[in-house]
Symmetry: D2
Subunit: 350 residues, 4 copies
Amino acid sequence: MLVVMQHKATQDEIDVVCEAIAKMGYTPLPMPGEQRTAIGLIGNDGRVDDSQIVGLAGVAQVIHVSKPYKQVSREWRSGNTLVTIAPGVTVGGNEIVVIAGPCSVENEEQIVTAARAVRAAGATALRGGAFKPRSSPYSFQGLGRKGLELLAVARRETGLPIVTEAMDEAGAEQVAEIADCIQIGARNMQNYSLLKSVGRLNKPVLLKRGMAATITELLLCAEYLLAEGNNQVILCERGVRSFDPAARNMFDLNAIPIVHRLSHLPVIGDPSHGTGSRDQVTPMARAAVAAGADGLLVEVHPAPDRALSDGAQSLHPEQFIRLMQEVRAISQAIGRSVSPSPGTAALQIG
Amino acid sequence: MLVVMQHKATQDEIDVVCEAIAKMGYTPLPMPGEQRTAIGLIGNDGRVDDSQIVGLAGVAQVIHVSKPYKQVSREWRSGNTLVTIAPGVTVGGNEIVVIAGPCSVENEEQIVTAARAVRAAGATALRGGAFKPRSSPYSFQGLGRKGLELLAVARRETGLPIVTEAMDEAGAEQVAEIADCIQIGARNMQNYSLLKSVGRLNKPVLLKRGMAATITELLLCAEYLLAEGNNQVILCERGVRSFDPAARNMFDLNAIPIVHRLSHLPVIGDPSHGTGSRDQVTPMARAAVAAGADGLLVEVHPAPDRALSDGAQSLHPEQFIRLMQEVRAISQAIGRSVSPSPGTAALQIG
Amino acid sequence: MLVVMQHKATQDEIDVVCEAIAKMGYTPLPMPGEQRTAIGLIGNDGRVDDSQIVGLAGVAQVIHVSKPYKQVSREWRSGNTLVTIAPGVTVGGNEIVVIAGPCSVENEEQIVTAARAVRAAGATALRGGAFKPRSSPYSFQGLGRKGLELLAVARRETGLPIVTEAMDEAGAEQVAEIADCIQIGARNMQNYSLLKSVGRLNKPVLLKRGMAATITELLLCAEYLLAEGNNQVILCERGVRSFDPAARNMFDLNAIPIVHRLSHLPVIGDPSHGTGSRDQVTPMARAAVAAGADGLLVEVHPAPDRALSDGAQSLHPEQFIRLMQEVRAISQAIGRSVSPSPGTAALQIG
Amino acid sequence: MLVVMQHKATQDEIDVVCEAIAKMGYTPLPMPGEQRTAIGLIGNDGRVDDSQIVGLAGVAQVIHVSKPYKQVSREWRSGNTLVTIAPGVTVGGNEIVVIAGPCSVENEEQIVTAARAVRAAGATALRGGAFKPRSSPYSFQGLGRKGLELLAVARRETGLPIVTEAMDEAGAEQVAEIADCIQIGARNMQNYSLLKSVGRLNKPVLLKRGMAATITELLLCAEYLLAEGNNQVILCERGVRSFDPAARNMFDLNAIPIVHRLSHLPVIGDPSHGTGSRDQVTPMARAAVAAGADGLLVEVHPAPDRALSDGAQSLHPEQFIRLMQEVRAISQAIGRSVSPSPGTAALQIG
């Protein structure tokens, strides 16, 4: 940590900062400059709380050199973390995991048809929302517990493990009973109460980046999960807010190599929310894999025209078949492969 | 709602859209143009869910002409809503309500000293966090229930009503027992489970705008509260995320006249989070009142240098006295006044 | 400047950085830490170019502690710079200067009528565009030289000094011949060729913040003007790009106290572009003055319904009269006053 | 175009809008709704200027259904435009063009060494700045005319065509004399005077997206070039401003499929500016090609440690060799290939 003093800071003010650093158990190192003095904090163990310093008289700015997170950092653990969401389905290794399915579970026929379709195209896991965070209280809010049960039916029919969202503590317990991986959505990324609850449920977690979260904030939220003892965490880039109405979100694919550099956790891309528009999903799925994503989260609906939510960004099943072919080709070009559906011999892929 | 068709949309595709609109119970009105056809939806009652339309073949874009919210809209109720958080303390009328106090409740001496100081300067209500959402799991997370009890002590000592944050359903019930107004923080603005729970608690609510929430999204979140039967909702602009690191947030004061135009709910400004820097709090508090804010939320700490959180943006008590003087002068210049502390004769203010 | 090394940087890499700093004529000060080494650069004179350092092996990040600008900084000159655009019209002192007029000069009657109207309401200077930067090549591009001549006519009729935009070197010379102050628009803020030309013209300059410029970048662009020997520079906050379509721009009023802290140059606010909507101009003009702006730039048109550009954000003359009354009241509340029109006895104002 | 009236707009106000539309030569079509009336404008030819409408009494909002640009639109010309920057070097076809070289031309040895290195790795064209837009007036500003001459030397040595930036009208004429393609940089995207001058020079143009330009604005700026009779325009995504300091810019790769849908002009990606960090350039170059980019603009320097500008994002020559191998693999995976260096038999590539 570096404390930058104001141009006109007095020696007394500098001394007070040095004492405050010492009282926190670290060593202050003043660096007088032509324009201003900066004071280094030596011995930062990643848990320094700058709130004791930032308000002191004469302080212009506090600059963090160490990262504010710890257990999620690649400096804490250099090898990649592998997250296993079901037997044979592991995220973070060489194989790219494709999680596909409708935005919402609507009824048994819809979810089973969707599951069969994505399974036939080669998806590795099934997504589908039972609890839906919707901007308007008047929009369809999901089937709740009934939706979870229908997901279990679809898993029985296809063998695909289930990834689905929880929105609160009570819901998370229900999701944990049935699903293979608990999703925390973008709007709840900084719902710390939910993070703590989910961190204690001993299930793999898919944590989506918030609407306007920095990568550092995403990693800090993952740190909440690891701090509860759960390191089975998959991160997900799903587009962030921007000034350009040309797309629903701005899909920040550069987050993928950045997360890989900073953290040992796997990171996947969601081109459906990342773009918001069906015709951009396939090129951006290819791009996500080319950028190094460990997996994809893709919305596919048996009949997007009749979807109760997110129809405009859901692929038709035949579009998803094409997406899988292109994603396989890109995977091979970078020396990776697409993880087969559970129970499928790897050789049928390619 | 206007459905804009693609340049090359066929008559069949146009017909399918018209039928879908009719099936939803509205009237379609096709408008053929030189470049493309647009189809109006007549009879929108504010509850149209575009998900059935947006995914249809040939649709380029769906444009919402009606607002997606309803009960929060000034078109629903033209007069201003008054929110009464305690006897004599009403937000949304001609008087400007100043809610002040420390970021976190730290101990009895700190919160009582702070309450007395802001009361002496003329504040109308006391703020102070018992449950604290913090970016890092290793930062101070608040005193919890104990903090609520200390707030009650401070209220007893000063008569100031209490505004404090709830982060989850269990916490909201505790807050509702003790506090006069429940705050929902920026990070939880779109925590719909929390909104629904809090909406049912029959207490005034202070809803802060999310980090990167549009004004429409803020109003939709307020709609969640009103949809539960609670119209005692105060909105709060607290700065949004921007590209400029010069300030912690970008304080979007223009949100104040915009909210007043769109909604009947009162809106206040939080110059502490809005700027993140003590020396900008007073000018931006003045600006918020000049822009038409119905109140202010200001962080004041008896000793900001020793604050456990947000020290850099907390005012010293003597700075707050000055802020109150300037805010009173601005209020008078626009024909308003600052709401006195409860139990204070109005005439001593001025 | 602080050079932060990667976690695994070798001693050799650290030594190479230290040597590079020494070769640039500064003193390196290594600060070994638990997680990584940081190297301070001592003796920064504000002209350090980090490009020699930032690409070296083992460097994680370069952090600038000194400001990248120099002559515009308050550390370079502590007293406020006063910019005199005409005899008796000075920006940066206690008096608030209101520059008003139409977006574009359209014809003689329009500009003279506008000038008389804003003069009658108490404006200090006249704005009006002769060279117009327009998003579309098919929109009205301004009257050019003819527009400048009509502005001169309006000045003769009213005594108001003229502020008008230049878009290129040739145009800037024409503007300098006739106008009292040369405006550089938001889209050209980083047009360095234009900045250098205008810096040499020995005329006051009004420099508008770019669409998505940081405050540091705005100050660096002003530095281009000062580096050419011209310190008669007024800065202008006019709203920046944001994610929220609720307003044309996000009016960043907090830029005003921040610029005042960092620089000795005066800064004014443009609530017309800052909001984009007529009904928000007056509250945000009040707010700008309350935040400490040294002046206002306001679009007023004799008949906004027939304006060739920016009609939606132009005030009707009677709205401007009201704006002036409110701005005077706010000015008095903060101990300032509105600068009278040239040739007007100060006492008739108030 | 759709004119949305306010909730309480009177019939008179609606009539005035209809008359104004009719006076502009179009047909008004009023659509009365439950909440408000909207008025369609029929017959929009892409040149409607809404400024006559937007300021009328009772108007809430003007929504553009037609695109504001025309000649750049795919609705104007459905086939892809091919831009030929030198014999055998065409952008917009099936072959991907890689333009590589240093940020700035520094001296003869540097630029010739760089040109040979990128030629050897398979680049199709050479980039290098002679006129450099720099944030600070004290940074290296480029060699100017001398730099152009050195680029000509490098072309003679390697056969690579030259792409280099012009910053003003005088410079553009010099660039046009020597270079094969004139670059307009991000900061000058909306420098309309420059766009008009360059549009008349009858040379291929590479137009970079502005710092915070929407895709619509980028296309409108290209429209300025086409309106001058020059359709040899290549667009370039180079990252936009965001709230996240994790990268220098946010590389908006989704702009690539969006531009392809909206326009017939080719679009390339610049992963060097798009990321700002050497270790992200190669993955994001792969991603750009996977997303459908027609080419790449990559900074390569013989010795990035000694670069006078942008060292941190410049590749070492050996890194560029690797990038080319990976880009070839991705190109093949999507059925495209990398355009060979001029004078190279295509078969040696692959």
